[in-house]
């Protein structure tokens, strides 16, 4: 009996050790940048900070692009979870330069060690060169510095950014469709952002327009029921629901009103899945 008991005990304890050690492995923090692609890295000169820039996917398309920035102390290599970051996107077309709408990280504290921010690229890199200047205000040492990275922007198959010149005030509005990014048959979250061009360098978020959403299948000339018009939720973002009753090519017609005045009724986005 004892002869059996001893090896049994050994096996059991071996399993226990294996099991608990496995558990320890599980407890280790996952890489916050998992699933993201590192676009580039460099040093924010003057702020003593190493900057790593991540994006989703492998290409940067025109439209709303999310960036995730990780900061490290350039001396100790430690993560810096407290810093202010300010973006400046710039398009250099030789004869002229212009910026684009952007969203700085909403706070000085990183979310899961990353600072999420975004740029709405309003044209592809074919007409010039896009750069993104990342200014870092290091809260540890109080220093400030910046890194400028080149960004190659291409047009996606279906545009997610469009603009119109408003009928009611003549202003130029940029509309960016953010969601649905992976559409499905059923109820989809609809999210878009509206920016109004103030100067070549300023594209502030706009919340003055009301939006009517009408999805349509252009090949079938039918729509879908029970959609929810996007309404402003903050920072120029509008959220609603769009319903797709089948797969295929869908056209999302958007009508913009400023009060009772029509701003635009020609704009649409296509999505195909």
């Amino acid at each position: 009996m004892k002869k059996i008991l001893l090896p049994l005990l050994f096996i059991v304890s071996a399993f226990l050790i294996l099991f608990t050690s496995c558990k320890k492995d599980d407890l280790q923090e996952p890489d916050p940048a998992q699933g993201l692609t590192k676009l580039t890295e460099g040093y924010a000169t003057g702020a003593a900070a190493k900057v790593e820039v991540y994006v989703k996917g492998n290409t940067i398309n025109t439209g709303y692009t999310k960036f995730y920035i990780a900061l490290y102390d350039s001396v100790s290599g430690q993560r810096m979870d407290e810093s202010h970051i300010h973006l400046t996107p710039m398009m250099d077309m030789g004869m002229m330069q212009h910026s684009a709408p952007y969203e700085n990280p909403s706070s000085g504290n990183a979310v899961n060690h990353l600072f999420p921010c975004s740029v709405v690229f309003i044209m592809p890199s074919t007409g010039g060169t896009w750069t993104l200047k990342i200014q870092v205000h290091n809260h540890l040492n109080g220093k400030e510095g910046s890194l400028t990275i080149p960004v190659t922007v291409t047009d996606p198959v279906k545009a997610t950014i469009k603009s119109f010149t408003s009928l009611h005030d003549g202003g130029k509005y940029f509309i960016s469709m953010i969601e649905p990014s992976s559409p499905k048959v059923g109820i989809n979250d609809m999210e878009m952002a509206i920016y109004k061009k103030k100067t070549m360098m300023e594209f502030p978020a706009d919340s003055s327009l009301s939006v009517t959403l009408t999805p349509e299948m252009p090949t079938m000339a039918h729509g879908s029921p029970n959609n929810v018009n996007p309404v402003h939720t903050g920072n120029g973002h509008y959220k609603g629901k769009v319903n797709f009753t089948m797969t295929g090519l869908w056209r999302l017609h958007l009508d913009f009103m400023s009060g009772t005045a029509v701003a635009d009724s020609t704009l649409y986005f296509d999505t195909e899945f």
Binding site: T245, G248, L249, E272
Partner: protein, 687 residues
């Protein structure tokens, strides 16, 4: 691909559910047996009572059985031909084949169409495949039509039940293979059929197999016009085995397959590429007249239907689409008949079934990704039912029958994509419903030859999967897209029926009058807020419960044999239906009379038959109905049989629609005329 994966993944779960249900059923059955056993006392009578007296309204089954047998004598008759001649029944016709049965103008989800007590659900969203197309007359032993007081015994329904009982192997015990081979040809559709049936028995075993092949081209309507897309081709095959365990107990196993292809539907914008059904069942039967539980049957079954529509043969299709559908059903029932004290009878039935349905549509536009959507989002209906019918003789003339049934029905969507899709228009969380049905039937004998009966019943029926979850199902009849409503209430009905019958020798006359008050009647109403999906559709209709409707009518059948060799059979029916706004209900057949006289002279017989229908001008315009003209048709049939080398030969020939009338019935879709003059010839050899 998707389906295959689901099937594999679903198997362990199905096994688990079957187990659970079997346990539940056994519990119900044993309890019922025990309860019944408590009530049984020694019976002073050993008289064998016909099952029909208990399960089926006594007067009905023999009458409809005699009618079925009479019409079955015409060997070219399809099951549809037979059904259309029964006084309670009509057929909704979309093509030359695959007509949908209707009982007293109730159809679809309002009635049960069963094969040997089994539930089977068509896989076509356009109802092109009612269960009746899977049974060839050669396989049919009998056809029961149950209405009002018993219409719900096999399943909650407001309109009744048609149960097609399949033929069993015969114990001839001559150690020989016997059989029948028959072939036929008819001119109107240039149609040909060939069928064969073999029977073999040895010792305690008996086997039966049958096969039928039908090939029908476009038919010619009255006046000579060819009706495009009215062709069809099909094979039907079955195999049955019976094992007689002892004097009272037998085991049965049945397999049935039916494959149809290239089935045209002139009234619809597309045809059927293929329709395949498979049915399997195993049952145990026990009949012991000496016991209180004198008849008992338990059956386990499974069936599947696969269906695919085809628009590739149609000219000018705006966009090619694939529309496959599938249905999978398995279930079990147990039915027992007891003799109680004082000549009372009790029939109890417990049944469970589970049906999975899925249909989809994929449209193709060059240069674009395919457009795919579910037209029947994947759904499952689980049904648990219990019914009892108690017959109580009050005195030697008066008897009372109480029948009740309850069904617990659980409907749910079973895939993520189905739930996502339904969430656009409704509630995707599934539902449970408890349906209740109750009836009282009072029968009184009046002298030797007369019998009258009065029945009152309250019935409920579950909305169908299409009515709950259907997603932009185009209805070619009214030109609207139909969308399901997940919160429909069950349709209910209060019914009264009065019947009188006279029987003397071979003469039998029966008259039935009925009245149904429908509550929460389910119908499609225009939903202006929804935009159409189908190109050229007029709009979208959503299923709604409307406050009420009434259906009333009568039917009569007469079987007279003035002499041994002469038989006269006549049936007539009339129905009137209207909603609470006095608007006529759709698909109400007008007054119709079919009469046949058959004269037998030695080995010859001759039969003349006429069909007459009055015009139907009480139409529901909202449902796209149009006025239908009346018609009068004359058919003639001749037959001869003889023995040749010890084999019996039968030759039949006839001419239908002798006057080559161009006509259509009111329940026919799409203003398509029915076949014109048709000459047929059949040969049957029995060996």
């Amino acid at each position: 691909m998707i389906t295959g994966g689901q099937m594999v993944a679903g198997l362990p779960a199905i096994n688990f559910f079957i187990m659970k249900r079997i346990v539940a059923l056994l519990f119900i059955v044993t309890n019922a047996l025990w309860l019944a056993a408590q009530n049984i006392q020694e019976d002073d009578s050993t008289r064998i009572v016909q099952l029909g007296e208990v399960v089926i309204t006594g007067k009905q089954q023999p009458q409809s059985q005699r009618l079925v047998n009479f019409f079955k004598a015409n060997q070219s008759a399809t099951l549809e031909d037979i059904i259309s001649r029964l006084p309670e029944m009509s057929l909704i016709r979309r093509g030359a084949y695959g007509m949908e049965p209707s009982i007293r103008s109730f159809s679809g989800g309002q009635i049960n169409v069963m094969v040997g007590g089994m539930r089977i659900h068509g896989a076509c969203t356009d109802k092109m495949d009612p269960a009746s197309i899977y049974i060839e007359p050669i396989n049919l032993e009998n056809l029961q039509v149950q209405t009002t007081s018993n219409g719900f015994f096999n399943g909650s329904s407001v309109g009744g039940t048609v149960n097609m009982k399949m033929a069993e192997p015969d114990f001839l015990n001559n150690g020989k293979v016997t059989g029948i081979i028959s072939s036929g040809y008819q001119t109107a559709a240039n149609a040909f059929f060939q069928s064969a049936r073999l029977n073999y028995s040895s010792g305690k075993w008996a086997f039966r197999t049958s096969g039928t092949y039908r090939n029908s081209k476009n038919y010619r309507s009255g006046g000579g016009k060819e009706i495009d897309f009215s062709q069809y081709e099909k094979v039907n095959y079955s195999l049955s085995a019976k094992y007689q365990y002892d004097r009272f107990t037998s085991f049965h196993a049945d397999l049935l397959g039916d494959d149809g292809w290239n089935i045209g539907y002139p009234a619809l914008p597309m045809d059927v590429g293929y329709a395949a059904a498979r049915m399997a069942s195993v049952s145990i039967n026990r009949e012991n007249p000496g016991k209180a539980l004198y008849k008992w049957e338990t059956k386990v079954y499974a069936n599947r239907v696969d269906h695919s529509m085809d628009d590739t043969k149609r000219p000018s299709v705006p966009m090619h689409m694939d529309m496959p559908g599938e249905s999978r059903t398995y279930g079990m029932y147990s039915e027992g008949n007891y003799r109680l004290k004082n000549k009372q009878r009790l029939a109890i039935r417990a049944d469970i079934s589970s049906t999975f349905l899925k249909a989809s549509m994929t449209m193709y536009q060059t240069g674009q990704l395919p457009m795919y959507m579910l037209t029947w989002p994947d759904n499952r209906k689980d049904q648990y039912g219990l019914s009892a019918s108690w017959q109580i003789p009050i005195d030697s003339l008066l008897s009372l029958q109480l029948t009740g049934r309850t069904d617990l029905i659980n409907y749910r969507l079973v895939s993520r994509e189905a739930k996502d899709q339904v969430s656009i228009v409704g509630n995707n969380t599934g539902r449970k419903d408890l349906l209740k049905n109750l009836s009282v039937l009072m029968t009184r004998k009046m002298g030797r030859n007369f019998k009258t009966s009065v029945s009152l019943s309250y019935t409920e029926r579950m909305p169908t999967a299409g009515e709950l979850y259907g997603f932009y199902l185009f209805n070619a009849y009214d030109g609207y897209d139909y969308i399901g409503n997940t919160v429909l209430k069950p349709e209910r009905s209060l019914q009264a029926e009065v019947a009188g019958s006279f029987q003397s020798g071979m003469t039998r006359i029966q008259l039935n009058g009925y009245y149904s008050k429908m509550i929460d009647y389910i119908t499609g109403e225009v939903e202006p807020s929804l935009s159409t999906m189908t190109i050229d559709a007029k709009g979208v209709k959503s299923y709604l419960n409307i406050s009420g409707a009434t259906v009333a009518g009568f039917e009569a059948s007469v079987i007279v044999s003035p002499a041994v060799n002469t038989e006269f059979v006549s049936t007539l029916r009339y129905t009137n239906g209207r909603d609470n706004d006095k608007e006529p209900l759709p698909f109400i057949a007008p007054f119709k009379n079919i009469s046949s006289a058959r004269y037998q002279w030695q080995k010859f017989f001759a039969q003349m038959e006429y069909e007459a229908a009055l015009p139907q001008s009480r139409i529901r315009e909202k449902a796209g109905e149009r006025v239908t003209a009346g018609y009068f048709l004359l058919h003639a049939r001749l037959g001869y049989n003889s023995l040749l080398f010890k084999n019996r030969f039968d030759i039949q020939a006839g001419m239908e629609n002798i006057f080559d009338r161009e006509y259509r019935e009111h329940l026919d879709w799409g203003n398509i005329p029915r076949p014109g003059r048709n000459v047929y010839l059949q040969l049957k050899v029995q060996f």
